[in-house]
């Protein structure tokens, strides 16, 4: 264990100890402006997520401070995260929201990553899911397994080899499907438009994107849902996604497909990255060195939001039915999001190099 790692762990232990102390929430934030920085543009899912929580947070914090969402897009969120790493000793007026695209480069050892998740204070985490779907022609051949899809060529609009698209790309590869990746799509909305216009023949969306746009295509008979990535239960097993209980998970489809294994390096790597990318995809942070009392206050505020009578209803409509974690649970969610074992990492790095020619130093 290197010295810096040691100090980091010591600091975390200290923070945890502080956490265990009885809370004396005397923090008053009235008159302050909290700037919640989102490292993406105004269109993305993270923007929706932060815009959803910002007014609720303002209501729930003592003194009802103003909560402003700021956007700092760039380098697939690396820019904003590197910026947040520089923010220290916060008084609660600086907040940050990370996403799967912030996590993956961190996990893969991207040379541009200059941030360290373990320094930050998580106050809330929430998850999402994803749905893969086929066009009508391939959908007719789909029988719960990919066996009949193996002799077809699919085209997929991919946002970038090291992005969240790792999850669908690796899943399809494991199923033995022949998917050609058109790299450099600007967002999943563009991917869906490519699918609709027939340029792409397979697509995936996160839950909110699916509910918003793709579900209508399914209704119109232009698309057939193939599988969800599933959801993680308390014991760490992949189970059906509660938002889409009627759709099989990738695990089920894989088990039904010849040659696809739900064990071994490949499966473990997929599962590790899925767990890092989806069930705790979006996390709200306070910067390193924030007073534990303030961290506690924010955690409590988010807990208060989760306890609202109408929370289930308003959040299901805007974010989908996914759990939200605060306090110690948020810390666990973070730990899940930033841990993949070395063999999973090595596998994905090797696969990216082989299939996409991407080298991560």
């Amino acid at each position: 264990m290197s010295l810096s790692k040691f100090t980091r762990r010591a600091a975390m232990a200290l923070a945890a100890a502080a956490f265990a102390l009885p809370a004396s929430a005397d923090v008053d934030m009235s008159g302050k402006t909290i700037e919640w920085t989102i490292p993406f543009s105004e269109t993305g899912g993270s923007a929706k997520w932060a815009n959803f929580f910002a007014p609720l947070l303002s209501e729930a914090l003592p003194g009802n401070p103003t909560v402003v969402v700021k956007f700092m897009p760039g380098a697939g969120s690396t820019k904003g995260a590197n910026w947040f790493q520089e923010q220290t000793g916060g008084d609660g007026t600086v907040m940050f929201g990370s996403s799967g695209s912030t996590q993956f480069p961190y996990l893969l050892g991207d040379p541009r990553v200059r941030y360290e998740y373990k320094d930050w204070n998580p106050v809330m985490a929430s998850g999402t899911g994803g749905v893969a779907y086929l066009n009508a022609e391939a959908g007719a051949k789909f029988d719960g397994s990919a066996n009949n899809l193996k002799d077809m060529t699919f085209i997929y609009g991919n946002q970038g080899a090291t992005r969240l698209d790792i999850i669908p790309a690796l899943a399809w590869k494991m199923l033995g499907m022949n998917v050609e990746h058109v790299l450099g799509i600007k967002g999943r909305g563009d991917g869906r438009k490519m699918f609709e216009s027939g340029e792409a023949t397979i697509d995936y969306q996160t839950s909110s994107g699916y509910l918003k746009g793709s579900a209508a295509l399914v209704e119109a008979g232009k698309a057939v849902p193939m599988m969800t990535w599933g959801s993680i239960d308390a014991d760490g097993n992949i189970v059906r996604d509660p938002t889409f209980p009627d759709m099989p998970t990738f695990k089920e489809v894989c088990e039904a497909t010849d040659g696809c294994e739900t064990s071994g390096d490949q499966w473990e790597a997929w599962k590790a990255f899925f767990i890092a990318g989806f069930p705790s995809q979006k996390i709200a942070f306070l910067p390193a060195g924030t007073d534990p009392e303030i961290v506690e206050t924010f955690s409590n505020a988010f807990a208060k939001i989760a306890a609202r009578d109408d929370f289930a209803e308003i959040s299901a409509k805007r974010l989908g039915k996914y759990p939200m974690y605060t306090g110690a649970a948020a810390k666990d969610a973070l730990a899940n999001a930033i841990t993949v074992n070395d063999s999973a990492r090595a596998f994905v790095q090797g696969w990216l190099k082989e299939d996409f020619g991407v080298e991560l130093k």
């Binding site: 815009n51 970038g160 600007k186 216009s197 746009g213």
Partner: protein, 675 residues
């Protein structure tokens, strides 16, 4: 026909909703807020909408919608003020308006240009809404016909407008466009993230340069500096009486042109992914190509204002189609619009199902937009007489404030001190391009279209190679649809016609020639940059070849063009138009001040900001500039500087923005606004 009949009740219910007094009240409120922000260059609808977002949560949907649309709709109208009066493109929607609008202001016809522009905006907005009411019903299959090859061809068609704006020497225009495209490729490659002309040791450039900075730098800074050097008012003659009625008459005389450009605006606005950033150029090109008597374009022809302004409001309506039907925002403000719709929390989400389930809602949006155009235009016309008088004020009194606003606007794009450095650097390039008569419009078109052309050509290339592997016919079907073929024909015609006419169209006025050395040095510098770009991008390794192809292609063509220019320069005498240089003619004689002392003022603000942060630097800059350069008394100096600072602070506070920090801030923790 059935779908149209089905649509009628929805249209009726939409009108019923819109025509409630309270809805109209919110609309007017939105328009006023939009106007207050839109008249300042660079702070377009994005800043305004972000300002509204916090209030949207839980608002009555139709009221929130009215407020938001009021704000979005008025921006392409109100940004005309900056374009016409100061030669600053207020937003990407009024880039082309600058070309003829600003010369008109210089001739004392500012009010006429403004009212012609507003009348066109109004008409364009209404035509757009009327067209959209029917078109949106059938738009979906049509939009889906636009796959990557078609989108690529639309981008290339936009690029072909370079032909007509190239100026007297076509190759110079092409090299200028190439230069713009190369600058557009700076940063992380879009496909593999390979760096182009940038380094991680210098993170600012990895994100590329933003349109706000390039637009303000290439157009605004050269104009500000040129006007400052002359030390006069913008308009060199007395304003003509009753100008604004004349402008409306001008519009009426050109109503068919205005109608055609409106349709161009809607149709191009509908195409997803282009964001309508080329609409005004295409409209301008069309205006010139169809006009009789072209010699006044670029010197203040009112038709050059009517064309682009008719199209840019219509475009906002067209932009609703991809935004609402596909959830793909056509522009930054549309992106926020989508976000705000979700905040309204009425369960209406943009996307494929919207048209079937919420047609009345769609119609409400379309006609609120049209109505907001009417309100905004009336307000703008009412204001134009007064605001036009700005052109009679001595420019040394305006310049520091204009510079303050554009520096603030530039900083909003990246929240980084480097934004100001980039603005200064691009501004310097703009000054030189203006001096040596290199087409700045061509440069800007190249910059704007660099990203879409690269993206679509890459997508199209990747997909066609997959399709051709599946079979020859599949591949040909993919790349040669009737839309692509039509677009190719239009583009070729446009280039041929454009190049033939370009010699008559002096988009930036006549420029005298004389002296070989300065133009040659500039050409060598351009050549050097292109060669560097070629070297830098050609060395991108093979696994990331998709990031390499486009810049290498553009750089090679530009290099050939630049070398041809170099050879011509060696052969031709120094009186040839090739050696155009503004420092040699009559304009140069009107200059009271040199280039370098004027530029030094801005460099002073920049350096001081790096040390003390923006607000302190601004205070020092305003006081010293007004006192020393403008020669005001101490009392006036302090009053003006205070007013400027107060305005800046109010603006930043309202928008919830910070100012660029300097070295000082890294040592001391200062309270806002000094942070």
């Amino acid at each position: 026909m059935d779908i149209f009949l089905d649509a009628l009740p929805a249209l009726g219910s939409a009108w019923g909703q819109i025509l409630q007094p309270i809805v109209l009240g919110y609309l007017v409120m939105g328009v006023c807020m939009g106007l207050a922000i839109g008249v300042f260059p660079g702070l377009g609808g994005i800043a305004g909408l972000s300002l509204l977002l916090p209030f949207m949560f839980g608002m009555d949907p139709i009221l929130g919608l009215a407020l938001m649309i009021g704000m979005v709709a008025v921006v392409p109208t109100s940004d005309t003020f900056a374009s016409v009066l100061m030669g600053i493109p207020g937003s990407s929607a009024s880039q082309a308006t600058v070309l003829d609008g600003f010369p008109m202001a210089k001739k004392g016809q500012a009010a006429r240009a403004l009212s012609a522009a507003f009348a066109s905006s109004l008409f364009g907005g209404l035509v757009g809404a009327a067209f959209l009411t029917f078109f949106i019903l059938v738009a979906r299959p049509l939009v889906l016909k636009f796959q990557s090859p078609e989108l690529l061809m639309v981008s290339v068609f936009g690029l072909s407008m370079v032909g007509i704006l190239a100026g007297r020497i076509a190759i110079k225009g092409i090299v200028a466009a190439g230069l713009g495209m190369l600058i557009g490729t700076i940063g992380e490659g879009p496909f593999n993230g390979e760096l182009r002309m940038a380094s991680y040791d210098f993170p600012y450039l990895t994100d590329g340069l933003k349109l706000v900075i390039v637009g303000l730098g290439i157009f605004a800074i050269p104009e500000i500096v040129a006007l400052l050097r002359q030390d006069k008012a913008i308009s060199d003659r007395q304003a003509l009486g009753g100008g604004w009625i004349l402008g409306i008459k001008d519009w009426w005389a050109n109503k068919w042109l205005s109608a055609r450009c409106s349709i161009i605006g809607v149709v191009v606005g509908v195409i997803p992914g282009l964001g309508g950033s080329v609409v005004d150029w295409i409209a301008y090109g069309h205006t010139i190509q169809t006009a009789k008597g072209k010699d006044q374009f670029g010197k203040g022809d009112v038709r050059g204002v009517i064309g682009p302004e008719s199209s840019n409001n219509a475009k906002e309506g067209g932009g609703l189609v991809p935004t609402l039907l596909f959830g793909i925002p056509g522009s930054g403000s549309m992106a926020i619009f989508i976000g705000a719709l979700a905040l309204l929390g009425n369960g209406i989400d943009v996307g494929p199902s919207l048209l079937e389930n919420n047609l009345d809602f769609v119609y409400s949006i379309v006609w609120l937009l049209a109505l907001a155009n009417v309100v905004g235009t009336v307000l703008c016309i009412a204001m134009s007489g007064g605001i036009a008088r700005l052109t009679n004020i001595r420019f040394a009194l305006l310049a520091p404030f204009i510079f303050m606003v554009i520096a603030f606007a530039a900083f909003q794009s990246g929240q980084n001190l480097m934004d100001l450095v980039a603005l200064f650097a691009i501004g310097f390039l703009g000054i030189l391009m203006r001096r040596f008569d290199w087409s700045r419009p061509a440069f800007l078109i190249g910059f704007v279209l660099s990203t879409p052309v690269e993206n679509y050509s890459n997508n199209a290339y990747q997909i066609q190679s997959i399709k051709f592997r599946q079979g020859w016919e599949t591949g040909m079907d993919y790349i040669l649809s009737w839309i692509t073929i039509t677009l190719i024909v239009i583009t070729v015609v446009s280039v041929v016609v454009g190049l033939r006419q370009a010699k008559n169209i002096l988009a930036e006025g006549d420029v005298p020639s004389g002296g070989k050395r300065a133009p040659l040095v500039f050409l060598l510098a351009v050549l050097g940059f292109i060669a560097y770009a070629l070297y830098d991008t050609a060395t991108i390794p093979d696994y990331a070849w998709t990031d390499r192809v486009f810049p290498v292609f553009v750089a090679s063509i530009s290099l050939v063009g630049a070398v041809i220019l170099l050879v011509q320069m060696m052969l031709k005498p120094e009186t040839h138009t090739l050696f155009a240089d503004r420092e040699t003619g009559t304009e140069a004689e009107g200059n009271t001040y040199g280039l370098w002392p004027t530029l030094a003022w801005f460099a002073f603000l920049l350096c001081l900001t790096a040390v003390t942060g923006f607000i302190i630097a601004l205070a020092v800059f305003l006081i010293s500039f007004l006192r020393i350069r403008a020669g005001l008394s101490w009392v006036h100096t302090c009053l003006y500087a205070l007013a400027g600072l107060a305005f800046m602070l109010a603006m930043a506070w309202l928008l919830g923005r910070d100012f660029p920090p300097g070295v000082l801030q890294s040592y001391f923790d200062l309270p806002w606004p000094f942070t």
